[in-house]
Symmetry: C2
């Protein structure tokens, strides 16, 4: 059986869980508390030298880190990964957008808002994180005002990756009222058969 090392509160980890649920694939979940340093122990660094979750472990012991690489690996051969070359490249485009232009602002704002004390110096980063996060949400809104899904005519890994930190962006102080197409898309993702909400 597949093993996922992950932290339930992390959107990057939730992505992997969500896809496994949508695919109906059985898996074992090993909870790793990165906030308590559990991704920096010698045991964990031997599994992933970059010291991050999620980490996928196959039945034969091979391991794969990086949430969006895991999504592509697991989705291969399923409708969640396009087969056409250009559509597949577009899915990758949105996965890289998510990790470079979306997650570093929206997920980090959520972390600072929800996990750090009220007087923590990193709260000074919030205005810039929110400005950049809103830029990413505006790019998504523009795209979703023209089509229902990020790539092609159905839900793919691109939607799942972007859903992970968009559905709870309010935790980081992002008001989604100004993004109607984005809110309709969140509801479409949640209406997928076997959809599982994030629990933490």
């Amino acid at each position: 059986m597949l093993t996922v090392y992950g932290m339930k509160a992390s959107g990057n980890c939730y992505k992997v869980q969500l896809l496994l649920e949508l695919l109906g694939r059985p898996y074992r979940w090993v909870e790793i508390n990165s906030a308590a340093g559990e991704t920096r122990t010698p045991e964990f660094l031997a599994k992933n030298p970059n010291g991050r979750v999620p980490l996928l472990e196959l039945e034969d012991g091979r391991r794969l880190p990086e949430s969006n690489a895991i999504l592509c690996f697991l989705a291969e051969g399923s409708p969640y990964l396009p087969t056409d070359g250009f559509a597949r490249a577009q899915a990758l485009q949105w996965l890289f957008f998510e990790q470079y232009s979306h997650e570093p602002y929206i997920a980090v704002a959520r972390f600072i808002s929800g996990w750090l004390p009220q007087d923590h110096p990193r709260r000074a980063e919030l205005p810039r994180l929110r400005e950049r996060g809103h830029q990413a949400l505006a790019v998504m809104e523009q795209h979703l005002s023209r089509q229902d899904w990020f790539v092609g005519a159905r839900c793919t890994v691109a939607d799942l990756a972007l859903y992970a930190y968009t559905h709870n962006a309010a935790d980081g102080g992002f008001d989604l009222m100004a993004y109607p197409a984005l809110r309709a898309w969140l509801a479409r993702v949640e209406a997928q058969p076997c959809f599982k909400p994030q629990t933490h």
Copy 2:
């Protein structure tokens, strides 16, 4: 013919140029000066709403942004993209590592060191950028002390993407003397037939 909108000084743009040269594919290069705001004009935003280079334009007018998505698209069917599913996922793993754990520190340190005035307030970010950048270089060094290439037994898109901002990391204040395996790998990439150095 393919068109690349890019900025010669950008490692993300150089990646695309390097792969096209290695593949021997003809292309047209349109220089876009993002430092002068040319990625934020209405004309450019109509091509890429996220306002970034590189941007690939196909003969039929379809466009693809995100450097590492472009690499995967162009490398499909060539030896630079593995065909085995797990090896392909490992190439993606390193591409996401590059965009999340490497480029935001090493490329940004290079930008601040080389493009901003000596008294610019963003210079205060340099110590943290260098600490995180060295963490990424250490992960690469550990991997390359065991194998010649990031994935499998030959140069792939993973190596090209990581080469782009590692070969000139010294511009951002990173001394590579402590990374002998990494320096030997840089030389292996540069020994690829049809290798083209970055010019800017």
